[in-house]
């Protein structure tokens, strides 16, 4: 085989591999949080306390990470069959809350809010309030007095 032909074949193969790799990288779907291994396993109260004590440090440690939380679910909100939020309610220091805005009352009811994956909605709805559970999810950070987790699943 002539050298130029060999070179052409190699160049075409490399080109195809590069295009496939770039397309895969650009269109890569989000991580499957249910199957992902948790980077941290923490008690709900301890995790929330870390955010309350030093949000900047907690942000850098936990935001964007898959975390397994242990604790007592106090509220289960089910606005629809496919949208369920499990809440590890946390006591608030009401003297620190802003009372000058409409969120005053909302902020008094803060906690760790876990938006469940669709396939875990039914199981979560059937969980008795105040049950001690393990929930795995993706930590998104603080919103007011709520620590937001999404794509959550109950760990058996």
């Amino acid at each position: 085989m002539k050298n130029w032909l060999k070179f052409l074949i190699v160049a075409v193969v490399v080109g195809i591999i590069t295009v496939i790799t770039v397309l895969w990288y650009i269109n890569k779907p989000n991580k499957d949080i249910e199957k992902a291994t948790a980077e941290y396993t923490l008690n709900a109260d301890d995790l929330y306390k870390q955010y309350s004590d030093n949000k900047a440090i907690a942000d850098s440690l936990y935001n964007g990470k898959v975390i397994e939380i242990n604790g007592k679910i106090s509220i289960i909100e089910a606005p629809s069959d496919t949208f369920v939020v499990a809440v590890f309610t946390q006591k608030q220091d009401t003297t620190q809350l802003k009372t000058d805005d409409l969120f005053g009352d909302l902020n008094a009811e803060g906690g760790i809010r876990c938006t469940m994956l669709q396939n875990h909605c039914e199981g979560t709805k059937n969980t008795a309030p105040n049950s001690v559970v393990k929930i795995k999810g993706l930590c998104k950070g603080m919103q007011g007095t709520d620590l937001i987790f999404v794509k959550c699943s109950i760990v058996k």
Binding site: I26, N63, F83, D101, L102, D105, L106
Partner: protein, 183 residues
């Protein structure tokens, strides 16, 4: 004694009416969409916090930027790190008022047009905005919906020239928030 009892009863009734005027949620939805020549960008956020005081017309929204979910991981990463700088500006907020509060009857089920005006803060930049939307009163709930366009440059969101053609200058924002009456 009877007078005191009557006074206490009336006071309790009045205060319960005032408290019943507040509607809240932490599960509101905001989606945005942009359709540029080379790429469609779509994201949704189901963790929007909102509150409405029906007696004053005050309405507030708080959105955690990192809660926006994209189909593609790379797009989500670029959105948070390069465009919205979410570690530096983690929340967007809207604080405003319903201008035509007198046209909305919160004690009667129905769908009402609402004109909402206030301060919208995105990426650390606050702008006065005025938008039309609708408020649907449904038993003990108020469903607020609106659809509007935002120009990204108004909020100092810099699009690198290399991808400028891929990203639309305006994004369409859809708000759909069901607030429950605060008990």
């Amino acid at each position: 004694m009877k007078t005191i009892l009557r006074f206490v009863t009336v006071f309790l009734m009045l205060t319960s009416c005032v408290f019943a005027q507040k509607y809240i949620t932490k599960n509101g939805k905001i989606n945005f969409y942009s359709d540029a020549p080379m790429e469609k960008i779509e994201a949704k956020n189901n963790e929007v916090k909102a509150a409405l005081d029906a007696s004053t017309g005050d309405i507030v929204f708080q959105v955690l930027i990192t809660s926006f979910e994209f189909k593609q991981a790379l797009m989500q990463e670029h959105f948070n790190e390069n465009y919205m700088e979410s570690p530096k500006f983690p929340n967007s907020t809207f604080k405003g008022k319903i201008n035509n509060l007198k046209d909305i009857n919160f004690s009667k089920n129905g769908k009402y047009n609402a004109v909402i005006e206030g301060d919208l803060t995105i990426h650390g930049v606050t702008k006065k905005v005025k938008q039309n939307g609708s408020l649907e009163v449904k038993d003990a709930k108020v469903i607020a919906t609106s659809k509007f366009n935002l120009a990204v440059k108004d909020y100092n969101i810099n699009i690198p020239s290399a991808v400028a053609g891929k990203i639309a200058e305006k994004v369409q924002v859809t708000v759909d928030v069901t607030m429950d009456q605060k008990k």
